[in-house]
């Protein structure tokens, strides 16, 4: 039991760290976007910038594109947790929870693909 616990303590630590990093990076993008809006003045309510246009719009310092990137990073953060769980369970050869985590990843990935279509 003790050895088993030591093995899985890494999942808790990596999960916590990945969440903090994801939130931090997301907030940085969102804050930069809001600062750009503050500088250029608030405009009307504009929708999400399409994924295909994101890279060039970010380089053009489009505030909406930068905020959209921040939102996407935030939404990817819980997905990263599932990936960490998959890595942990596959190393430990816990087939049941590897299967459960893979199912969850498929559900989340399909939702993400749908959103980015």
């Amino acid at each position: 039991m003790r050895g088993d616990n030591l093995k899985y303590s890494h999942l808790n630590d990596w999960s916590s760290l990945s969440l903090k990093i994801g939130i931090a990076i997301s907030l940085i993008f969102v804050i930069i976007g809001l600062i750009l809006i503050g500088i250029s003045g608030a405009k009307g309510v504009e929708p999400i910038v399409p994924l295909s246009q994101l890279p060039q719009e970010i380089l053009a310092l489009n505030a909406m594109a930068i905020i959209t990137t921040g939102i996407l990073i935030l939404l990817l953060t819980p997905i990263l947790q599932i990936v960490i769980a998959i890595v942990t369970f596959s190393k430990d050869r816990d087939r049941l929870y590897l299967s459960i985590s893979l199912i969850l990843l498929c559900i989340l990935a399909s939702s993400l693909l749908l959103a980015l279509m």
């Binding site: 616990n5 969102v30 309510v45």
Partner: protein, 287 residues
């Protein structure tokens, strides 16, 4: 979108984050009515925005709970296999429903949340009834060794609390329902999930809140992505909300430690009841 509206959105997020972390429930229940009643945003956009904000609060809270080994990660992952499909279904049903129907449904859920907050008991009274010992744990997690049982070190009780998990099928069923509600109404689902985890499945309250928070982050992510697909997520609305929610969640943990939780819950229950009435009036196009 004016500068005043951006500050108003930030303020709504701040209060939602504060309430969510101090009371353990209520982020979406505050955000959606405020966006629709105070800022007159269409409810579908309010729901999409709220779900993104819930991801921010839940991730913030979960990062602390997992570090402290409170979260039963295996149980959370298991229950999410039912919750996430519910979230997808809710996300597709929502666009089929008229705004008036959603406003009325939201009023009903607010009445339920107000009731649960009004009758809730202090968490410590429940946790002290679980088995435990005063041996302080080392830096290991005991929550993943067997998902039918779990344990964590409770600082306030100064002991390791152990518990057994019961009624997994009921948990999966309620998880599906919670996921559907979450995407349908833009709430985290804690008001439904917390009583199930605590009263039906046998988790102590602290493990319940931690595990529920972990689940909310994933459920709200699915719902937010579906709403993103529907075009209900606007960066200019979400950005100040997320900043406000993050700041409020940090302050809320301080408030939770200093203020009487039961008093806060009663006050918020009263506020939710009034808000429910307003949502019903909005559904009837009276306001």
């Amino acid at each position: 979108m004016t500068e005043v509206s951006l500050w108003a959105l930030g303020g709504i997020g701040l209060v939602a984050g504060l309430l969510g972390s101090a009371l353990g429930v209520g982020g979406g229940a505050f955000i959606v009515p405020m966006l629709t009643l105070a800022l007159h945003l269409p409810i579908h956009i309010a729901i999409g925005s709220s779900l993104v904000a819930i991801v921010a609060t839940s991730c913030t809270a979960t990062s602390i709970y997992t570090k402290n080994r409170l979260t039963n990660l295996k149980l959370g992952l298991l229950l999410e296999t039912a919750t996430t499909p519910g979230a997808i279904i809710g996300g597709f049903i929502v666009v089929l429903l008229a705004s008036s129907v959603l406003n009325a449904l939201f009023g009903v859920i607010l009445i339920y949340i107000a009731y649960t907050m009004a009758v809730s008991q202090p968490a410590i009274a429940e946790d002290s009834r679980h088995k435990g010992n005063s041996v302080k744990p080392d830096n290991t997690s005991t929550n993943l060794s067997n998902w039918r049982a779990g344990s964590y070190y409770d600082q306030s009780l100064d002991k390791v609390v152990t518990y057994k998990i019961r009624h997994i099928p009921q948990g999966l069923g309620s998880g599906f329902f919670t996921g559907t509600l979450s995407s349908l109404l833009g709430i985290g689902g804690g008001a439904v999930q917390v009583p199930i985890l605590n009263l039906v499945m046998g988790l102590p309250m602290k493990a319940t809140i931690a595990t529920s928070s972990f689940m909310m982050a994933i459920t709200a992510t699915v719902g937010a992505l579906i709403h993103y697909y529907h075009g209900n997520v606007y960066p200019i609305i979400v950005a100040p909300l997320v900043i406000g929610v993050f700041l409020g969640a940090r302050a809320g943990t301080e408030l939770a430690q200093r203020a009487r939780g039961i008093l806060l819950k009663r006050i918020f229950a009263g506020f939710l009841f009034i808000t429910a009435i307003l949502m019903f009036l909005k559904a009837a196009n009276i306001i």
